[in-house]
Amino acid sequence: MTSWIVKAEGLLASLLLAIIVLLVFAAGIMRWFGHPLVWSVDLAQLLFVWVSFIGADLALRKRAHIGIDYLVKRLPGQFRAALDLALGAVVLGFLLTMAVMGYRLTMLNLERQFGDSGISYGFVTAAVPIGCLLLAITLAGQMLRTAATLRSRPQPVFAPASTSVHAEELVP
């Protein structure tokens, strides 16, 4: 079930990224020929915020977001897992508040136009509540798994960046 969602998310975001590349490439080429496409860059910007949030969610699923485990890796496993659960609850509260506030803002922004494209700015703003909600769901799932194994095999919620092979290609 979850792997099916991951695949769908990955495919959707990959497709969006490919479209963004083609949109910006086309805009460059067309301007070169003297026929600028104004809407294509606007559309690319709009899709970009969605790619960013879906990508962030995929990264969270792989526990690839960089954190500093310099201090906490010295803690005993069970203590660290418990600490992570407490911190995770704070992050969860933050993400859910952002989702609610973002929803209200989107409703306010529906009228506002995005660039000259005639697309509602609400499509940009909507990425914030939906993105935060996706992140919250993923995080909640990871916290549940940690909580379930807290006594037998304590696992931190936020995996250390240094042991994750995926954490490497991220920083400029």
Binding site: V51, I68, F158, E169, P172
Partner: protein
């Protein structure tokens, strides 16, 4: 502002992913401020994504992942090996030159360091180079990749500081090459003393060099095409980023014939995840950026600094020292996002060129990911090569020292940085 800073450092030191730590810190400012409604904070997150130059980030990340699958990397390794493996410390020299050549197609130091640690690292250790020396050469050498255009760090700096990315790219060329020369000299001196031998006894023939260069021509031509496209003013850096992706596809499918649809999909997926990692930090830092401006932090810090000295070089030196120390503990993307809006308005009125300052700042800040206690490039290389961090720290001293000397030289002679952008743009 105090609450914001305390929240950020507390959460970060407890191991919360940086993106969330920065988001909650910014959120705390809006939640406790009576004038600022919370919805402005949410709005800032959405607004942060609506910058055209920022689109260059996913493009160059994707181009990098695709280039790796087009056979460009293996050709560049062959090329660097022919060029420098006859020198003392031959294989280590290959690492440095490869970082430079990779710099022209990739914008990320950590990606380059990881690739070299996987592909070249084991053979260096097998030839008797110490683990620490190997790791330090690869990790600090990858700083060249981050300096030679395209560079993700410079794109971010240009985005936050509103500085021309084209000029920044051109400005990175000479410092990148000087870095290569400096690090090669360092490797040569250490290799001579320890007896790390050359790989080949004789210098390569012109024909061998020519054959290797011709084989890698599509990779070597790329940075030139990139600079030409931006310099001509016809295309913006973001559009050039999109071209880079198409270029990689053309080279991979048609010229090298090594790219497959499956590997394009892999590259897209990896690029999406990397983009998510970088962008979540950028999006959530939108709130903190707003708070910094609202609280007039740049003005108060500027007053404190200019109370000490008004000499531009000294102010820049003070900032660089501060950045070096901050870079030991804080990840480079975060430093660029948060400190550029504070420091750039301080140095610009003193007559420091934003492009010059950008190169200095990026070099010092990126060096932070090669130094302990917090350094992503360092941990990546050390964990891939199974090198104890203590050993790395000792062996990296001469390399870090070389970089610091180079930064001092670049600070004193802005012409080295500004010559190319002023002459060409």
């Amino acid at each position: 502002m105090t609450l914001l800073a305390v929240t950020f450092f507390l959460l970060m030191s407890l191991g919360v992913p940086i993106a969330f730590a920065i988001g909650i810190a910014g959120f705390s400012f809006f939640a406790t401020n009576e004038i600022m409604p919370l919805s402005i904070g949410v709005q800032q997150v959405a607004t942060a994504s609506q910058s055209f130059p920022l689109l260059a980030v996913p493009f160059f990340v994707l181009a990098g992942h695709m280039m790796n699958r087009t056979g460009i990397t293996s050709r560049l390794i062959a090329c660097s090996s022919v060029l420098v493996s006859w020198m003392s410390g031959g294989l280590a020299q290959v690492c440095i030159v490869l970082s430079t050549l990779m710099g022209g197609v990739s914008g990320s130091a950590v990606a380059d360091a990881a690739m070299e640690a996987r592909i070249l690292g084991p053979s260096l250790i097998a030839r008797g180079y110490s683990r620490g020396f190997t790791s330090a050469t690869i990790a600090v050498g990858s700083l060249i990749t981050a300096t030679i255009p395209p560079s993700l760090g410079l794109i971010l700096y240009g985005f936050v500081g509103n500085v021309s990315v084209g000029r920044l790219f051109l400005a990175g060329v000479i410092p990148g090459l000087l870095m290569m020369a400096g690090l090669m000299l360092t490797v040569w001196l250490i290799a001579r003393r320890r007896g790390y031998r050359a790989e080949m006894t004789e210098r390569p023939t012109m024909r061998a060099v020519w054959r290797a260069v011709a084989d890698a021509k599509w990779a070597l031509l790329f940075p030139l095409a990139l600079l030409l496209a931006i310099r001509g003013g016809l295309f913006t850096p973001s559009e050039v980023g999109a071209f880079a992706v198409i270029y990689a596809a053309v080279v991979g499918f048609l010229l090298h014939k090594e790219l497959t649809w499956a590997s394009v999909m892999e590259a897209l997926f990896e690029a999406v995840v990397d983009t998510g990692l970088i962008m979540l930090i950028i999006l959530f830092s939108g709130m903190v950026g707003y708070a910094i401006i609202f609280e007039q932090a740049p003005q108060s810090i500027a007053e404190a600094m200019t109370g000490l000295t008004r000499e531009p070089i000294l102010v820049v030196a003070l900032i660089l020292i501060f950045l070096f120390i901050a870079g030991l503990f804080i990840e480079s993307t975060v430093l660029v996002l948060l400190l550029t809006p504070i420091f750039l308005p301080i140095v610009t009125p003193l007559g420091v060129d934003p492009v010059h300052f950008g190169i200095l700042m990026m070099t010092i800040v990126t060096l932070g990911s090669m130094t302990p206690p917090v350094g992503v490039a360092m941990y990546t290389v050390c964990s891939l090569l199974d090198c104890p961090v203590e050993e790395y720290v000792v062996e990296s001293v001469p390399f870090v020292f070389t970089i610091l000397v180079l930064v001092a030289i670049l600070t004193l002679w802005p012409g080295l940085v500004l010559f190319l952008p002023n002459a060409l743009m």
